[in-house]
Symmetry: none
Subunit: 182 residues, 4 copies
């Protein structure tokens, strides 16, 4: 991947971008052909870069998770422990709100993309943020990572609901956060 020709790298990125758009709009059942069209390449090019549709979806998800993990890392390093967890939580939900695929894949996707495979990548940074928040007294001691993750997945799904607005998001997350506080 590091040694791709310039044009290949360009196409790879256009395909990823197109796929993110298409899957965000239509969900993971959108056709690979549409991704190709949106990226302005032939269908074969998509399959050259991602041998199977699942590989393409996995690549998108992986990229997104990597971004989130890195954001979590930054928050853990420099943020206020009392608010970092909730800030991150909000951030993830916002990302999901913009992408049907994300939430879909958290539960539905290919076998190995389920919670065990995908959300698990967030376990470590999320765990750190949770521990810090508890040490800072911002979250009850009896709240465990497991339910935080579940709530995160839940809220990410909810973010796709028809009437979802920033204001509703605030009010909804506030209930969850309040439930976590001592």
């Amino acid at each position: 991947m590091a040694q791709l020709r310039a044009d290949a790298r360009r196409n790879r990125e256009r395909i990823l971008a197109a796929a993110e758009e298409v899957f965000a709009e239509r969900g993971a059942s959108a056709s690979t052909e549409e991704v190709a069209a949106r990226a302005g390449v032939a269908i074969g090019t998509v399959f050259r870069h991602f041998p199977a549709k699942d590989d393409l979806i996995a690549a998108i998800l992986k990229a997104l998770l990597a971004r989130l993990v890195s954001e979590a890392g930054e928050l853990a390093a420099s943020g206020d422990p009392e608010t970092a967890l909730f800030a991150f939580f909000t951030r993830v939900v916002e990302a999901a709100a913009a992408r049907r695929t994300v939430a879909e894949l958290l539960t539905g996707g290919g076998a190995d993309l389920r919670l065990g495979g995908a959300l698990r990548a967030l376990d470590e940074p999320l765990g750190t943020l949770l521990r810090r928040a508890q040490e800072a007294g911002a979250v009850r001691e009896d709240v465990r990572l497991e339910e935080v993750t579940a709530l995160l997945a839940a809220a990410s799904q909810a973010a796709l609901l028809a009437g979802w607005t920033p204001e509703l998001q605030d009010r909804t997350l506030e209930i969850i956060f309040r439930g976590c506080r001592p």
Copy 2:
């Protein structure tokens, strides 16, 4: 629907039951043919009763919602106002946990099956339960129906997660409920 021949009515119900099973197990992408097989009828019979696959799915959802609405009514009539809302909330999540389709359809399915079309049916009974709970002082005054519905949808989705167990459900819902209490 009122004037169906006896055998037709019987078939209709067997198809609905089969569809609920099949879609619960395999999700909404299960094939209509499998529904027919499970119901013990021919594929043509399914399409005679439900002109399109979406109609069948909508019918299942409608039936489920009707059941839930009636349960909500009973709780509102006879239950303890302080706990009825949360009891109902738990009940819905449990129903979702047993059915892939439900949660899937809340966000995914055909356009008109989204929150606006489906969950809206719960608005009235849910609103009643909420109002009663608030009057009884069991729920904060500033919690609105909208976010309760969103949380309900969210938790219903989460119920499909790989690691979901009754215990995790308790812990997760408890956070949400705590966030609702004064």
Copy 3:
């Protein structure tokens, strides 16, 4: 298969006939779509009757082998032991000459259609004919079933050669037969 509707049975047979033709002409790599076209049905109909291309090919081969086995049985029952083996041998080669698929499949086809799977069906009747011929003194004692089968496959393949004519067939098989005689 016995309870197929009349139209289904008709189509099944038209598909088999078309497939035999098409594969005979173009080899097993001919497209299923061409078979469908030749049979005058839509592609889906072919796949309804034969869930995968291999099933279609296997069905053709099975039918042909069944015919040959039954011919062998008749020859064993009523034919002159001294000539029955060679008559059957000739018969098989003639059948192969008319069908690319046959010879192809004897060596090439799907994994389970190779010699072990396909020609093996001829083992029993061929063995009987061979034993009778040896008892009648028409074939050397040291000729075994294995090499007869090999020669049969060989000659069947050769029957597809460009210059193959009835006359060449006679002269070629005569050499083989002479080699088998005491």
Copy 4:
């Protein structure tokens, strides 16, 4: 071909060698890309040397035939006329046994690779060997080149059968040879 740059000539030969291996293992349906990979060149290089896949296959076959023709020449020049024909026959069958492509192409491949195009190259040396053998009294007078070629093709195909072993080869060819002797 005479004026190729040294590296081009080297590539050409590596491609031929790789192709012989790949097609021998996987048959003519193996992908050109695999040939390129095995040869350690890019796919474009293969197509520069052989404008179409068939050209590559034809080149392999031609090379093999050339080798066989030269072996036949040597046998004709220096071998015992009584056994040279059968020795050559055996040699060809052994070559075929090691290469799926050979036998496949004798009947299957592109139209112009059939008997008329390929085996014809063996006509002359084979004719010479046959004539010598007949003059030496080792082969019946009424055996003609045509059927020898047919038997050769036949045995070459048979060499690909699943159960083919050196011992089976001996027994099978012995029958053919016996049929040729006076």
